[in-house]
Symmetry: C2
Subunit: 157 residues, 2 copies
């Protein structure tokens, strides 16, 4: 069974988004072994040095990703490669991967360091900026949709 | 105050999306006079002639839009023009419109007819296909974000 890990910085605080995300995880469970890991965000204030905080969070992410050297890692970034849902499904399944990792940054985004990794691919859900909690729901929905397309399963929505 | 109308085919059935949508409407209320109108979708079954149903829904939409001949009408469509959130804000506010109408189709999408209207512009939230209930939440969030950007208001998310 396909293993999917979603690594996120921070928790989903908004109850509605949290429930919507959990609903998609449940719908995904027969088709993929899905794990969600949340890293603690660095606290920051209006006058904080945000670049420094991003860097710190980046180091945490890098450390977490060490064990995934053999996997494809998809980083969610507005400036990443865009897909329509059918292409996204083909893209996820064409290489018959055993394991896929998605990474969603916190409020401040990613530090540059991570984009240098060889197995990292930047993907974009939209050119628009979404709240990071919201991006998680969209990602779960698109993974579910990608699997439905791949299995030729009808998906009423 | 800017008047915004969101016309949608069908209701939001999912409780989480419904609540999230209502939350954004509430956050928008100090900045825009926002109205949501929902048209009844045509019932359809697996063996229904979906083109015919889309056409029927299209006629309902067209009838509703008759009173907006002087307004800009933005139709949400995956193949429409994409924006990042800053450009979307500029695009909405550059003409100092009094009234903006957004239209979200139902499950089946739009009939071709509507795209022929002179005051209709196709816009896209993403190349990806989202559930139409979800598209409504994203739209409300992006309108809120567009206003925050326009007012130079900090928006913590």
């Amino acid at each position: 069974m396909l293993k999917i890990t979603i690594l996120a910085v921070g928790k989903i605080k908004n109850e509605n988004f949290k429930k919507a995300f959990e609903e998609y995880l449940k719908r995904l469970s027969p088709y993929a072994s899905l794990k969600v890991d949340e890293l603690d965000p660095e606290p920051f204030y209006d006058n904080s040095d945000k670049e420094k905080i991003k860097e710190k969070e980046g180091k945490k992410i890098a450390k977490y990703l060490e064990k995934f050297k053999q996997s494809k890692i998809f980083i969610l970034d507005e400036k990443g490669k865009e897909f329509n849902s059918t292409n996204f499904s083909e893209f996820l399944f064409k290489n018959e991967l055993d394991e896929i990792v998605f990474v969603i940054a916190g409020t401040l985004g990613f530090s540059e360091e991570i984009f240098g990794y060889k197995n990292v691919i930047k993907i974009s859900l939209s050119q628009m900026t979404f709240p990071h909690e919201f991006a998680r729901v969209i990602l779960a929905e698109q993974i579910y949709r990608a699997i439905a397309i791949n299995k030729n399963k009808s998906y009423h929505y």
